[in-house]
């Protein structure tokens, strides 16, 4: 799994690539929580994620909770069908703010 961090407008975009599984999800969790604790608005870009398991989704849930307590924005972009199915299974698609793309979000 790879993780790239960039700044787009008011957001810190954390782009994950590859498989976010039991082995690699701690590597996704760490930058998400670090940015949120610095009071940055975070978008997690999942468009290049080929697989995400429950541990990856749990890291996103932690991010959501941290964002709420820090009073910053947190959302997901580029959620693939496979990733969406995992979110839907736990009804988390109703919890997260999900956007098509960073561009569309910034344009609106």
């Amino acid at each position: 799994m790879k993780c790239e961090i960039s700044t787009r407008g008011i957001y810190t975009v954390i782009a994950l690539q590859g498989e976010v599984d039991l082995h690699y999800s701690p590597q996704a969790r760490e930058p998400i929580l670090t940015c949120l604790k610095k009071k940055q608005n975070v978008l997690v870009d999942l468009s290049a994620v080929t697989y995400i398991d429950s541990s990856g989704v749990a890291s996103l849930v932690e991010g959501y909770q941290e964002a709420k307590s820090s009073g910053v924005k947190f959302g997901l972009v580029g959620v693939s069908k496979a990733a969406l199915q995992v979110l839907q299974l736990a009804r988390l698609d109703k919890v997260f703010s999900i956007y098509d793309s960073v561009e569309n979000l910034l344009a609106n």
Partner: protein, 269 residues
């Protein structure tokens, strides 16, 4: 199941096993494809649970081979089997929950054994799986405080906590009322669809098998008599299949000499 010509993830070839002198499995051949729900059916003593135990690597066969996700398990060492089992979830018939641990601790156990995830991540994963199984709020309960259906769902939550590639479920409907049983059937289909699992279910419940299966294999006296789609099983002309579908007791021909021997012989059978 949307895809066709999928990869074979379980391949059983000419499997033979004995309990003492009794032959329990007699040349079993079975392929399970990726992302399918395969239901293994058969009457009591047909060998279906024994077949499951072999596929899980819990029993040793007399002969034959079993390949799981490309690994031959009849000759694999313990380390290889341990690695393989990370990809396999099992929900046993009675649940097999540890009575001295809470439901949450039971579900969390595979994560503690196999991963170094953060405590909070594990807690969220456990709660997510309990939510999926409609068991929200039972995390702190002991298994003895759950109903039969809840125990099965808790066992299923533990079986899928690591998001396994393969899920095995032994007799999901046993001892449950029809409504609770139907809920479990729905869960099995949901898991396959949402998590792309390959699922093997052992059951003797026809209604459940027809609802969830992509293919069904029927065992009789240790032999597979048919492996086919639900539709083809329904339309099969095989006597044993029709007996099972129509719940007809099996009429075995009586070997009078062997019968007399059994009644009058000196040796305990």
């Amino acid at each position: 199941m949307e895809e066709h010509n999928q990869k074979t993830v379980i391949k059983v070839k000419e499997l033979v096993t004995h309990y003492g002198s009794r032959k329990i499995l007699d040349g079993v051949n079975l392929d399970v494809k990726k992302n399918e729900i395969m239901v293994i059916m058969g009457g009591s003593g047909s060998g279906k649970s024994t077949l499951l135990r072999h596929v899980l690597g819990l029993n040793s066969a007399t002969s034959g081979s079993i390949e799981i996700l490309g690994t031959e398990i009849t000759t694999a060492n313990q380390k290889k089997l341990y690695q393989l089992r990370r990809n396999m979830g099992v929900a046993f018939q009675g649940g097999a929950l540890f009575g001295s641990m809470t439901v949450g601790e039971n579900v969390e156990l595979p994560l503690r054994e196999h991963t170094n995830l953060d405590e909070k991540t594990m807690r969220i994963m456990v709660r997510m799986k309990l939510e999926v199984m409609n068991l929200a709020g039972v995390e702190a309960l002991m298994p003895s405080e759950l109903s039969g259906g809840m125990v099965k769902r808790a066992a299923l939550a533990r079986a899928v906590i690591m998001d396994p590639t393969l899920l095995f479920f032994d007799e999901p409907s046993a001892g449950l009322d029809p409504v609770v049983s139907a809920e479990l059937d729905e869960l099995i289909i949901l898991l396959r669809n949402a998590m792309n699992m390959t699922i093997v279910v052992v059951t003797h419940e026809l209604e459940s098998a027809f609802k969830i299966a992509d293919r069904i294999t029927i065992l009789d006296e240790g032999k597979i008599i048919i492996t086919d789609t639900v539709e083809n099983i329904r339309n099969s002309n095989l006597t044993q299949v029709q007996d099972m579908l129509n719940r007809r007791p099996r009429q075995k021909e009586l070997d009078t000499e062997a019968y007399l021997d059994r009644l009058t012989g000196d040796r305990l059978q």
